[in-house]
Structure formats: C-alpha cells, structure tokens
C-alpha cells in the first residue's frame, strides 16, 4: 500500500515504514538506545530527504523511548536523579551543538562532518564494547577466575559535589554525569541522534553504573533530548513529516515493547556484544560509503548556496 508523505513530497510503501519502525523499535527496547543512528540512515536509503529523515527520526525515537522507559520503570530500572543530572548537561551540550551545526551548514560540509563523526564515534565505541564484552565473557566461562567488581574506584570518585544515586548504588560527584550528558547532547545535535549509543557505554564504563539501570536511565533522558530536537526542527525548518512519523511510531512502539521483554532474558554481556556488533556494522557501512567511489559523483540539492 503506497502512501504519500505531505512534507517529504514522495510516495512510499506504508508497510515498509511500519517494518523499519518495528525493527528500530525492537533494538531500542533491547539495548536502551534511541535508534536514531539506525533510523536516519535507513530513511536516507529509501529516499527520504536527509533533513526530513533526521527530524522525523527524532520524533519516532521519542515514541519508542517512552514505550521502552515505561517497561523499564515497571522493573524499577530507571535512576531518575541520575537521569535529571544527565539531562541538565545534555540540554546545555545540545544548545552548543545546534549552533555548531548551523555554522557547518553555512560552510557546506555538514554531510561529511556528520558521516565522519558517525564513523569515528560508532567505530570507537563499538570496538571498545566488543573487546570488553569478549573479555567479560571469557572470564565468566573460566571457572576459578577472579571475580570482577561491578565498578572500580578511580579518579572519578575523588571529585567534589557528591550525590547519592540509590538505584545505581553509586555515591559519586555530579560533575562526571553532567560532563557525559553535555558531550552526548553536543554530539547528538550534530549527528541528529538521541545519543544512546554514546550514553550507554559512557554510563557503564565511565560512571560504573550497573547495566540493568543504564538502559532505563538512558531511555529516560533520550526522551527529552529528542523531544527538544523534534520541536526545534519543526519550528525552524518545517521538516517533521507527521504522516511518516505516525507510521514509524506505530511499528516502533510495538517493536520497543517486544525488545524490552527480550532484554530481560538476555545476559548483560550478550546484550553488550550484540550492541557492539550492530554499532560496528553501521560504522563500517558509512566508512565504506566514504571510501568507495560513488556510482554517481554528482548530487543535486534544491536551493542555492547561501
């Protein structure tokens, strides 16, 4: 069934959109990532103009994150104080990011910058997670191996402004979460994603939060960051396509629920290794696009350069 999208000005298959929404929603519920880093390239691929893909993708991430976070709240897997601290940093970071994004657009190289950031950050994070999870799995499979602590004390724990995060079982300074939030918010604004794929490993490896709490808390703060992004795009550039969003959301919320159910049954290490493989796959695909000679060297964009 074909459906015409009023803002994107193209006709696409409605079931294809439901499917894309469903797959991304499933991963979102499974890993606690918003799925922006998947949905945006997928929408490009089916021919949605980039600006509309980024803005509408953010809208769909809001829905799947709401759906996912509610499932996590029921399992008491959301650290709300931590979520708010991360969010405070995140909004500040994304405000700076939006400004930098506008500067890069004026310079005409925003596509390249976005692609390079994807390759760099996805590649780095994917590799780190992959290697770490493999080591963790090997340790578990070896009987008699030294028991690994949930987190180790390092310089992070010597900083001032300490605060108790009951759900995470942490007593740490609020400075590192603020900083992590700001960095993620900044990157999120530039790359047009919620930033869960950066947030999740940062929470696990930098802040030492338990994996179970990480997913819910990450989803919780992604809701607000992507809601902010959606609104900004709708007001400044009119690039949110509601028809497209509704179809993606419909698939997405159902997928997110199934994903959340599955995530409860998988071991933390398995979850992490799967997420790292997914992240590496996307990074590899974007890197290949940059390295291989494109079939058509020329691109046509409506409008004149500023």
């Amino acid at each position: 069934m074909q459906i015409f999208l009023p803002i994107a000005d193209i006709s696409v298959n409605a079931f294809l959109l439901l499917g894309i929404g469903g797959v991304v929603g499933f991963l979102s519920g499974l890993f606690g990532v918003g799925g922006g880093f998947l949905i945006t390239p997928l929408l490009f691929f089916i021919g949605i103009p980039p600006a509309i893909a980024v803005a509408t993708g953010a809208n769909q991430v809001v829905a799947s994150s709401v759906s996912g976070v509610l499932a996590q709240v029921k399992r008491k897997a959301v650290d709300f104080p931590m979520g708010f601290v991360l969010l405070a940093g995140g909004l500040a970071g994304s405000a700076v990011g939006v400004w930098v994004f506008a500067r890069l657009t004026a310079a005409g190289q925003v596509d390249l910058f976005v692609q390079l950031s994807y390759v760099l950050f996805l590649g780095l994070i994917g590799m780190t997670m992959f290697v770490e999870s493999l080591n963790a799995m090997r340790r578990i499979n070896k009987p008699g191996a030294p028991i690994r602590r949930s987190h180790t004390h390092n310089w992070v724990h010597g900083l001032p402004f300490k605060m108790k995060f009951r759900a995470s079982g942490l007593y740490i300074s609020i400075l590192p979460p603020l900083g992590v939030g700001a960095l993620v918010g900044f990157l999120a604004a530039i790359m047009g994603v919620g930033g869960g794929f950066i947030m999740v490993p940062a929470m696990i490896y930098l802040l030492g939060m338990p994996t179970k709490v990480v997913i819910g808390t990450s989803l919780f703060q992604i809701i607000f960051v992507t809601a902010f992004t959606t609104l900004m795009h709708a007001v400044t550039a009119n690039t949110v396509d509601m028809m497209l969003a509704v179809l993606l959301i419909l698939g997405g919320v159902i997928g997110a629920q199934i994903g959340a159910q599955v995530s409860g049954r998988l071991k933390a290490e398995q979850l992490r290794i799967l997420l790292s493989l997914l992240v590496l796959g996307v990074a590899g695909k974007i890197a290949l696009d940059l390295l291989l000679r494109p079939a058509e060297l020329y691109t046509v964009t409506p409008g004149l350069l500023p």
Partner: protein
C-alpha cells in the same frame, strides 16, 4: 455555383502559416495529491484544424509537460585524502522539477535548432543556467549530470515517437506524472511542426495540489509550526504509552 467558386478560390490561395492550428484538451486539468496518491496519467488529445488543404511536408506534434522551476545546486564529489567529499559546486538559476517530452518523431528531425532556441523545447533548453561557465571550467558536465540524475529519478523524460498521430489530423498521448510530484501549476505545451518549423502552438495548465489530510498537515506545518511540533510529540508520547499499556494488559 458560388460554393464551387469559393472552394476553387480556397484551393488556389497559396498556403500561409495560419491555415493550420491546434485544438486540444486534457483528460484532467487538476491533480489532487491525497494520502494514497501513486502518480497520475494524463491523456492529452487534440486535432489539427485546417482552413485549407495540408501543404506538402510531413506534420509533427511535440508535447511538453513542465513542473514548477526552482534554483538548484549541483555538487561534484572528489577524492580528497582517500575519502570522497563534495568539492566543486555549480548553481543553476532555474530548472523544472518535472519535464516530459513526447513527440511523433525523432526530435532532431522534426525541430530545427533555431526553433528549439526560440521555444525552449528540449531538456537542456528548459534548464536556465546563464553565467554558469564563470563558476566552473567544466560547467557543461554539471548540467549533463543534473539531467542524468533527474532522468534516473524519472523526473525528466524524452519519449520520442510516443504521440499517436492519425492521418496527420488527430493526435493523442499519455503522460505519466510520477508519485514524487511537487505542488504547483504544470505547463502543457503542444507544438505543431513541419520541416523543423513550428507552425502553431498552444498552452494548457494542470493544477497539482495536495488535498484533504495532506493539505491540512502541510498548511499546519507552515502556519503553526510550534503547534505542529507539539502535536507530533503528543502523538509520539500517546503511542508510546498506549503500546506499553496494551502489552501490560496482554501479559496478564
């Protein structure tokens, strides 16, 4: 007796250009883009009206359908430090968003270059790019690339010999408007040519508009962007909550 004399007179009058003109119609002059729009086929039909017998030389028909024009930027990727990035760019003053040509014969045979220049019929002529050579040494490549890209997207089309022309009098052609249409007035031009010269031409218009829900959403996104954004978020939150609640119920 008088009738015969007039007839004889008409036959004897040397043929001038105004003796043949086009009468034409469109199967529809409105296209409504609704949610289930998948493209639209327009039938363009007509006849040649003569006030005198046809002069020698074969008559041909050229039909063009042209969507709203807009300025464009064409960029070329080049390999810099191992990666392919946008490097050179050329700005095109105005290019139609859609352009289809249907003819009764090979365009080179039925239209001279001067007539093409005057009426701007072929695809390269429909693209206005004055002063483009100042922007790049290979400006021509950029225009060719634009045409190639748009032909691949089915936006530009040249269908030679696709107009049916019966007894040099009745003609008809179907023009397919694709699903990725842009709103606006589409200009239909019909040319009658003989030996490369345009004998007559007429113009018609097709009004392409979004209707119903499409119209409503489009207008709202432009007129009330904040409300539109908030409504999008509301839908997202309700859908997210709804799915969560539904699954909780289903699990019980």
């Amino acid at each position: 007796m008088i009738r015969a004399a007039i007839l004889w007179l008409l036959l004897a009058v040397p043929v001038c250009a105004a003796t043949e003109d086009i009468v034409a119609g469109l199967s529809q002059n409105r296209v409504s883009i609704t949610a289930d729009f998948e493209g639209s086929e327009i039938l363009i039909y007509g006849a040649v009206r003569r006030t005198a017998p046809a002069p020698s030389g074969q008559l041909h028909v050229i039909i063009t359908v042209e969507g709203p024009s807009m300025p464009l930027t064409v960029r070329k990727k080049e390999r810099v430090a191992g990666i392919w990035i946008n490097n050179e760019s050329v700005q095109i003053d105005s290019a139609p968003s859609f352009y289809a040509i249907a003819t009764t014969g090979r365009l080179d045979d039925i239209l001279t270059e001067t007539e093409n220049l005057r009426h701007q019929i072929t695809i390269p002529r429909a693209i206005r790019s004055v002063g483009i050579s100042d922007q790049s040494q290979n400006a021509g490549d950029f225009v060719e690339a634009l045409i190639r890209v748009r032909e691949a997207e089915n936006r530009y089309r040249l269908n030679e010999r696709s107009v049916q022309f019966t007894q040099a009098t009745l003609f008809r052609s179907d023009v397919l408007l694709p699903a990725n249409l842009i709103e606006g007035l589409y200009r239909v031009r019909i040319f009658l040519t003989r030996e490369g010269q345009v004998v007559d031409k007429i113009e018609r218009q097709i009004n392409v508009r979004k209707e119903g829900l499409e119209r409503f959403l489009f207008n709202m996104s432009r007129d009330q962007p904040l409300l539109y954004g908030l409504l999008s978020l509301l839908i997202a939150v309700i859908a997210g909550y709804g799915a969560s609640a539904a699954f909780r119920l289903a699990k019980r």
